[in-house]
């Protein structure tokens, strides 16, 4: 955060990079979450019920375990891709 406070004084060009770093942090935390979800789902017994929460509400819909596992795996892959893209862009910037 101290670095963040210093950057705006240096120039406006750094604002997007600040945003991207935040986004990167969010992504990393999300990836961690998703990893845990995949592990949990994969370790569940076959007769366990899985519920999926409706966004922004307290209702949980019954879902299929295998489907949820595959879905969570997919999301994890997507998140990883996104994270890597950001990292690559940063690297290229630094190189330049």
């Amino acid at each position: 955060m101290p670095s963040r406070g210093a950057r705006p004084e240096d120039g406006s060009g750094l604002v997007p990079t600040d945003n991207s770093t935040q986004h990167k942090e969010d992504l990393s935390s999300k990836i961690k979450e998703q990893k845990i979800v995949v592990d949990e789902l994969s370790n569940l017994k076959k007769n366990r019920k899985v519920y999926r929460q409706q966004q922004n509400s307290d209702i949980f819909f019954l879902a299929d375990r295998t489907e949820m596992l595959s879905e969570s795996k997919n999301t994890l892959d997507e998140l990883r891709k996104e994270y890597q893209e950001i990292e690559n862009s940063e690297k290229t910037k630094i190189k330049k």
């Binding site: 120039g11 406006s12 519920y51 409706q54 966004q55 922004n56 209702i59 019954l62």
Partner: protein, 527 residues
Amino acid sequence: MEAPPDPGPHASASASAAAPLRAPEVARLREEQEKVVTNCQEKIQHWKKVDNDYNALEERLSTLPDKLSYNIMVPFGPFAFMPGKLVHTNEVTVLLGDNWFAKCSAKQAVGLVEHRKEHVRKTIDDLKKVMKNFESRVEFTEDLQKMSDAAGDIVDIREEIKTDFEFKAKHRIAHKPHSKPKTSGIFEAEFSNDLKSKDLLADKELWDRLEELERQEELLGEIDIDSKPDTLIANGEDTSSEEEKEDQNINVNMMNQVMDSLTPSNCYQNVTNSELFNGQVNSQWNCSINGSNSYHNNEDEEDDDGGDNENDHDTLGAEDNSIPTIYFSHTVEPKRVRINTGKNTTLKFSEKKEEAKRKRKNSSGSGHSPQELPMIRTPADIYRVFVDIVNGEYVPRKSILKSRSRENSVCSDTSESSAADFDDRRGVLRSISCEEATCSDANESILDEEQQENHQKKLFPLSVTPEAFSGTVIEKEFLSPSLTPHPAMAHPVLPTIPERKEVLSEVSEGTTKRVSKFKAARLQQKN
């Protein structure tokens, strides 16, 4: 950063205004702009989340009716759940706002969600625009700061700007005298509009003029204020009275005409005014005023007794001074008597009399009256003057109305006035002609031409007796089924009744062919 503090201390106000590039202020500006930007970002994030939620909701709603029932965990508060079934998959209640809900199908709910998403997108776009705008501003301020930090030469430029400002200020001050007339003009206008203009213009001439105007205005204003509570008519009256005071002219006639239309309530005012004027003004004024009063009374017929009395006083006072128009006022009293005693016919009479009086007035205005007026000093004069000549004999006019309208006699407009006068002085004339008095009354009040003719017939033998009355009373009595000859109003006339009766009997006999009979009789007499 060194430059800005130097010019600060001296000439602080102008310098601060002239030097926007000082570091602390620019930094603060940038801070504020950045705050706006961050605020916008937060808002955008919030709205994006809302948009995301709506997206999920839309998806869920669109797939909800796909199955008949869903196994769900039903929430009990935030921490407890129990297994349940979602049964009505195509039935949704949508919150419209303020705890109002609309029950609708899932598809309709999807439509609503779409609509709301549109709104959300719009707000997000607006916020983005604002954010961009402020980002550019932030860049601009940063550039400014850099420039001010980099260049120390700007201090010199600032000094020049400062002198410029001073010059501008002087210029403005110099302009003021030129613009003065304009402002003064405006000032005057405002002044005339509403009397509160207490600005600070130094021109002494102007002020004198303004004060003068103010005095005038106050005068006018006072008049207005006085007149406001009264009715419009009263207002006119006031103005007219003032005119009289100022001019001492005899425009009073005009005023009187105005006054004629006064309502009974204003009658008193009239009277008082006229009384006041009696002291100051010449005789003609009195006359005209009296005339107006009497006329007014005629119109109103049943005025307040007090007003009439006052009128009488006026007329008495006028008699002393004035020659021509005394007679006007005297009509008042007898008329009242008539009204009290008479039937509906009296009303008609009054109306006709009014007309006659108007005509008389007009004629007097034209100058016809002055020739005749001097002749009439007493009621007797009136009767001497207004006499019909039939077959070389002098026949007293009984009904002025009739004589004028029918016989084309020489009688002037003043004949009515004479009749009125006679009414007033009935007591005096009673000894002379009681019969005729009654006759005249009848003529005036009743308006039946045939009856009048009857009376005329009767009166022919009577030579020049000065009298214009026609016997109302008797006719009335006759008309009424009870022939008792004593109406309240007829008491002076009582002795004449027997004679009348004959006439009346004639009338009664000739009811069927009245007109022809009387005409024949008149023709005979004329021949």
